[in-house]
Symmetry: C2
Subunit: 363 residues, 2 copies
């Protein structure tokens, strides 16, 4: 049983880098009651490997990727807000992507067109249309989702009244592009990859596992790894515990994720550049935002705090009331998943009733 | 024409992790005049991919890996010192390693025994014996060489009067072990690897290239990569300049280096732990050191400054006069190669005649 629902994409669905998908759909889940006022809706975008399942539900009791943050009485309080979480376009958890069939029934595979973060944002916009939602309280995202939230406000001014972007970036750094390039190379050089036209029964598992091993390392910070693993030896074999941990993570991921989807999403993250939409200050000024919460982690190697600071600067110059939350967490980039409590006070303030009163007055 | 010479290993040559090499040799080059007093000899250990060729010479005019640091009038002044640089045991530039033949003529390959940093240090010791050198002014090393220098003084007290360890560590962190584990996995999962018994004509090139791409990224720091590459596009294709750079580095390395040698050296670096020789304070106190220069780079991801600080602490507690050089360089770990000028004043002070006077008195 699944809580996942689907919103169709318009036919065709134009893509940011050119071309179009002849048809498609976006998988989403909702949390809370849709009876809430329109300006009580939160659109939520997740990271590279996230599904639409942000939280457990009677239909799907498995813990979601933001189980402790979304829910009744939580920071994203489903007693007060209607939360719509989407699976990114191009991913492999229900939304159209390289692993889903084309209109003729064959898998997209290597022929899936170039994906942009902007397309993922537009996928979220289609879900809102499908649900008849014209106005958002907030667009919220973390990691890739934090980038997608920026792409959303850049492309759809006037819909979201507030922006929450956690551990995202307006444009990735050379190190981050390089680390993702190594991951892509691992997949593309796996003989089972077959230029992307792999047999779904024999995907490039080794490459995907290797990519995830490296990804996992870069989502963490040195201190967190030192605390958790240090130089402890693995239970078996002449290995260290950190090696065993990475292998297990890689194995699990290779069982779940589609290699072409990984490549498309990875490349989209490299290519995203908010400045391609024009001066970010003007973009934010035109976005109709009442406030923004931008959060980052000092120890984040992949989405360094300087990149969130740059988003904050643009927002402030655009006259948007912006709170910059600087977290110190030895969990690094993954702190929003592993140490969510650090983000909660700021999220609660952001979604506090006082915000609603401001909106009520402004309306 | 080559300046490389060879020192035989004792037969057998016992290994730190157990077992022995039935025979073997260490490749070395020397710079400066061996007529200098014994206490004017410097034993130099290099990084993971370094050969014995630290500097160009009439016999081999190709630039060495520390071309600007070793030579007449340089920080390691060959007009005053006799510099002996060794190729690490287990490497593939002349010293015995997985790519060299066993006594029966077959390549060692996957059967090469477990290598330790201690063995590399002992290889250097054998070169000194071969040259009839009983006393060193300094043992010097950077990166893996910085670790090897520690292993040398731990195992051979009373030989080196001074220690210079640059961007080394007494024990690698979980992050660094993890990053190396991913590189090893890339090699070992390459179908051409064949459990290490690969055809020398068809080595696991893809895996080695991938390993080096990741290695190269981690030898640099984010700021340096941002300055040099930023988000610049590559000249050809839909790629970023950083991707092209990593690929080129990887290709070049895969042409030069033996995969099994890489694996053995990589694993040796993980396994090294100075504390396995007993309390490091006691180890250093017993080493007969007059002074030490320990250097590190703030931006080093792989050998973080905290690890050099820990070496300094042990040395100071052992009563060794220690200078701790903390460099800020956006080149990160590779600063000792790319921004050697930052290290030179401290190196010059270390090798200054005043040191010699102290030695003369002490003798």
């Amino acid at each position: 049983m699944s809580a996942t629902r689907y919103a169709p994409l318009p036919e065709p669905f134009a893509l940011h880098a050119g071309g179009a998908l002849p048809s498609g759909r976006i998988a989403y889940e909702t949390f809370g009651s849709p009876a809430a006022a329109a300006e009580r809706t939160i659109l939520l975008f997740g990271g590279l490997s996230a599904s639409a399942h942000a939280r457990s539900s009677p239909e799907n009791p498995q813990p979601g990727w933001w189980e402790e943050v979304v829910g009744p009485g939580r920071a994203l309080d489903t007693e007060r807000f209607f939360v719509v979480c989407v699976n990114s376009l191009g991913s492999c958890f229900g939304s159209t992507g390289p692993a889903t069939p084309r209109p003729d029934g064959r898998r997209w595979g290597a022929d899936f067109p170039t994906l942009s973060v902007e397309d993922i944002a537009n996928g979220g916009r289609q879900v809102l249309r499908h649900l008849g939602i014209a106005q958002l309280h907030s667009v919220v995202g973390a990691s890739l989702g934090g980038m997608t939230a920026l792409a959303f406000v850049a492309q759809h001014p006037g819909i979201a009244r507030h922006l929450v972007s956690i551990s995202g970036t307006a444009a990735a750094s050379a190190l981050t592009i390089g680390l993702r390039a190594v991951q892509r190379e691992a997949i593309e050089r796996d003989p089972d990859f077959r230029n992307g036209d792999y047999d779904p029964e024999h995907p490039p598992r080794n490459g995907l596992r290797l990519a995830r091993m490296l990804g996992t390392l870069t989502y963490r910070a040195p201190a967190g790894l030192a605390t958790r693993f240090g130089r402890t030896r693995a239970a078996t074999g002449d290995r260290f515990a950190i090696e065993e941990y990475l292998t297990q993570h890689g194995e699990r991921f290779a069982d779940q994720f589609d290699a072409n989807a990984y490549l498309r999403l990875s490349r989209a993250m490299d290519r995203f550049d908010l400045a391609a939409h024009g001066d970010p200050e003007k973009t934010f000024a035109a976005a109709g935002l009442r406030s923004a919460l931008i959060a980052g982690v000092e120890q984040d190697l992949l989405f360094p705090l300087s990149e969130q600071a740059s988003i904050v600067e643009h927002l402030q110059r655009a006259g948007v009331a912006t709170h910059f939350l600087r977290i110190s967490s030895e969990h690094g980039h993954d702190a929003f998943l592993l140490e969510h409590a650090l983000f909660e006070p700021a999220l609660r303030r952001h979604f506090h009733p006082l915000n609603d009163q401001v909106i009520a007055h402004a309306c």
